[in-house]
């Protein structure tokens, strides 16, 4: 009897975030979504080992080397560092905010280190391995599962161009090639980084701006609220896609620019949510107590009020990641995306660009966009159910 009450109390005392995550993990839809995102993270992290023209290991004239490792750029190392740091931090018992801060600091440090230390050869000659192999110079070789890089346009073959899956006689392109002759599977694998990165960073920027502005509006109300709401209205009344187009067409087309642009065009929804929550919260006793204690404003806003208003924000952010990915894909599709780097939307565009319809360029990259957006929407839906007090009560009741 005492044991039961003990576990019950432990359950009640569980941190709110873990309760929500636990409820999330019990839903089938969320599981499927999380599994797909986890797969994407794995593929994105280990992209250079999955699809690479540089062999993973080779022996030439008795000398063993690993061209794949030698040709890894700073971004590749940052992804690996971020992945393993996250893996280690989930094992270490610590508070959530500590883990997040440590992870961000670690990735920041890795970025500085990577750009300072790593300098892969600027000129990569993809053909050299194939010519060396043809000449019989290589004694032993271990290739990546997909032996083509994203930007390896197979110039040495001469007949390169757009090809259906498994159409080429001497090479295996599981998902075909795109208009410049590069392998679609390899490009899709490397493009998963763009999709993931854009989704998280753009949503992070939007969350930051939205929380700041919305928090101010909700806490101060009055004049600040009126001005803030006009700003929100302005950003809502411009079709986001149109604002994005204008930004991208007039500023450059780098991926970082796109993250920032998508971030600063999609914050208005978060601002609305935070404002509504803060308007409710600021009348409550614990906030009044915090004010009466003379705590500084940032502490009241972000340590005391924000964690209590996090629930609708999490749901909105999950859907927000999906729409950020869609926004990037749309921009790339309309020909305003990245120029040389692979992106799912850009490949989708190539499906109808040439005079013929190339189904593999529509089905595979389009399918990847669809599944990723679907996964985030599934997670968002499950999160909404998990934080909704009505459904939570029924599931708790069903368990007891």
């Amino acid at each position: 009897m005492t044991e039961i009450t003990g576990t019950k109390q432990a359950q009640l005392a569980r941190p709110w975030l873990r309760q929500v995550l636990g409820a999330l993990a019990r839903r089938t839809g969320a599981r499927i979504g999380l599994a797909w995102i986890a797969l994407l993270v794995l593929v994105a992290t280990f992209a250079p080992f999955i699809a690479n023209t540089h062999p993973l290991y080779m022996v030439v004239d008795g000398r063993a080397s690993s061209p794949a490792l030698a040709n890894m750029g700073p971004v590749d190392w940052i992804w690996l560092a971020g992945f393993f740091l996250a893996l280690i931090l989930t094992m270490v018992p610590a508070k959530t905010w500590f883990r997040v801060t440590a992870w961000l600091a670690g990735v920041g440090g890795a970025t500085v280190l990577a750009y300072a230390l790593v300098s892969p050869p600027t000129l990569t000659v993809y053909e050299q391995y194939r010519t060396m192999e043809a000449a019989g110079k290589i004694e032993r070789i271990v290739r990546a599962p997909i032996p083509y890089s994203a930007k390896d346009y197979l110039r040495d073959y001469g007949d390169t161009g757009i090809e259906a899956p498994l159409a080429a006689s001497e090479r295996h392109h599981w998902l075909g090639t795109e208009e410049n002759g590069a392998d679609v599977a390899a490009r899709m694998i490397h493009a998963s980084r763009i999709a993931l990165g854009i989704g998280f960073i753009a949503t992070g920027i939007a969350l930051l701006i939205g929380t700041l502005i919305g928090g101010m509006m909700g806490y101060f109300s009055g004049v600040v609220d009126i001005i803030g709401m006009r700003l929100v209205e302005i950003f809502e009344a411009i079709p986001t896609l149109f604002l994005l187009l204008t930004f991208v067409a007039f500023f450059g087309r780098s991926i970082y620019m796109m993250m920032i642009i998508i971030g600063i065009t999609s914050w208005s929804g978060y601002a609305r949510y935070v404002r509504a929550e803060f308007l409710k919260l600021r009348e409550q006793d614990f906030v009044q107590a915090a004010v009466a204690c003379g705590l500084p404003l940032p502490s009241i806003l972000f340590r005391h009020m924000l964690p209590n208003g996090l629930a609708p924000l999490l749901v909105a952010a999950s859907f927000g990641v999906a729409s950020a990915i869609l926004a990037e894909a749309t921009l790339s599709f309309l020909g305003l995306g990245l120029v040389d780097d692979p992106s799912w939307g850009q490949m989708l565009n190539q499906a109808v660009q040439s005079s013929t319809f190339n189904w593999w360029l529509a089905v595979f990259p389009g399918g990847a966009i669809f599944f990723t957006v679907f996964a985030y929407n599934l997670i968002g839906e499950a999160l909404r159910d998990a934080v909704d007090p009505h459904t939570q009560r029924t599931t708790m009741g069903a368990r007891q």
Binding site: E233, A237, F251, T356
Partner: protein, 460 residues
């Protein structure tokens, strides 16, 4: 109410001002920005001509002036009251009746007003066709899902709708064009534009070779539609499902035969099975209105095919038919996303109201479930749908940017992409202004509709 309207209209002005200001700042702050040099870049001209052209553009658009002055000039041009603009670009006397002037497009060399008057109706046509379609089907699905909560239809439609909502518009458009319009697969629909050149010179209605053909056409159309609609509405569930599966299998086989000839292959079998599964599932939907809509659409298609097979000679389809034929794919691509969203919203709103106290009271009085649903709950559940209609228009406008680009329809969305890509300042600002105005107008309309639908809301 009038006072409220005036106040709302007055509040629109600062918002519109802010919208154009943001877009103008983006354009002015961009590296390179807009200058006379960027306008004539790429043209192969003699240096003197170049200089003259640059001076001309600078004078005409005031491009050599500082950005704030340029923006104020633009504001002056579009406001109905302000300084007259002389032909050489300088400002004239103050006038109360000069009228708004949206300027001249850099790229097209035509007044922006003309361009918009040409393009805007096309985008509006697409959107105004989509909205009723979205609402009708979404409400039918939502009502059915809410009525049997947790049932098979509810669970299946929930997953399917979320999936539909996640399909990017460009993927749907590309697949539609690729499979149903391109040369390689089924050439059922036109690939681009809104009307064929020949159709413009044809009669408005279809033109048939003889009176007998007209008779055949009407008979086959009427018969197949009536038969299918009757079966969808009245036939028992088992018969419906088997009949539907049979028709679906036949259509799937015909589809494969159209591509690869009549000799049965694995491909024929797969398409036949797919068609059977799809039509069987459609015929098994428990909602009668939905079944009738699907059966009616199928009946028209089958009837047209039947008339063709019976030898009705159609000289040409006429303008109306051609226009409708061009609109099918774009309208579907534009509407399915909003449809999924609205259907989910209808469901949750209905469920909330079905569990409300007033619905329980009605049931306790002995009112049957149908009456509770349609007379008590349904009208109250419409309120969130009205609120959402305000946000539907902006999302449709954004969707038409993509749809118009894919289907090469010369509407405002395509104009927006072109304007942005060619850095056509006047056009970008005007398109922003118009779409902002449409969006704010949508919000206002939604608020008014809300007041009409809900007697508790009053703006006086």
């Amino acid at each position: 109410m009038l006072l409220y309207l005036v106040r709302r209209a007055a509040l629109m002005v600062p918002t519109l001002f802010g919208i154009t200001l943001i877009v103008f700042v983006v354009m002015a702050a961009a590296p390179g920005g807009i200058s006379a040099q960027s306008l004539i870049d790429g043209t192969n001209l003699e240096p003197e001509t170049r200089q003259a052209l640059e001076d001309y553009y600078n004078r005409l658009y005031g491009l050599d002036q500082p950005a704030p002055v340029q923006y104020l000039r633009w504001l002056n041009n579009i406001s109905p009251v302000g300084f007259e603009r002389e032909a050489d670009g300088t400002l004239g006397a103050f006038s109360l009746f000069k009228g708004p002037d949206l300027g001249v497009s850099f790229r097209y060399g035509r007044p922006v007003t003309d361009l918009l008057a040409e393009r805007l109706p096309i985008t509006l046509l697409l959107n105004l066709l989509s909205i009723p379609l979205i609402y009708a089907i979404a409400i039918a699905i939502g009502v059915q899902a809410a009525r049997a909560r947790g049932g098979r239809f509810d669970v299946a439609s929930n997953v399917l709708l979320l999936g539909l909502w996640s399909v990017p518009t460009m993927l749907a458009g590309v697949l539609f064009i690729g499979f149903f319009a391109s040369e390689q697969y089924w050439r059922w629909f036109p690939t681009a534009g809104l009307v064929r050149r020949e159709a413009v010179d044809q009669t408005f209605l279809p033109w048939l070779a003889s009176g007998v053909d007209v008779l055949i056409l009407f008979a086959s159309l009427g018969m197949s539609t009536a038969l299918l609609v009757w079966a969808a509405a009245r036939a028992p569930r088992g018969a419906r499902r088997y009949g539907g599966a049979l028709i679906g299998a036949a259509l799937g086989y015909l589809m494969a035969a159209g591509l690869q000839g009549a000799a049965p292959t694995l491909f024929h079998g797969l398409l036949g099975l797919g068609g059977a599964a799809l039509a069987g599932a459609m015929a098994g939907i428990p909602s009668k209105p939905l079944r009738i809509v699907f059966a009616g659409a199928l009946g028209i298609g089958v009837g047209l095919g039947l008339a063709r097979a019976l030898g009705a000679e159609i000289v040409h389809g006429g303008y109306l038919f051609d226009r409708a034929w061009h609109l099918v794919l774009p309208v579907i691509a534009l509407s399915y996303g909003g449809l999924a969203f609205l259907a989910k919203l209808t469901r949750s709103s209905l469920l909330e109201n079905l569990a409300a106290d007033y619905a329980r009271t009605a049931r306790a009085k002995g009112v049957d479930e149908e009456t509770v649903l349609w007379r008590h709950v349904f009208r109250n559940s419409l309120l969130p749908l009205i609120t959402v209609s305000a946000t539907l228009l902006p999302s449709l406008l954004a969707g038409s940017v993509i749809v118009e680009s894919i289907f090469s329809i010369d509407g405002m969305g395509k104009l927006a992409v072109e304007a942005v890509q060619t850095r056509d300042r006047e056009l970008v600002l005007s398109v922003t202004l118009i779409s902002g105005l449409l969006t704010l107008g949508g919000y206002l309309l939604a608020d008014i509709a809300y007041a009409i639908a809900d007697p508790r809301v009053s703006y006086d």
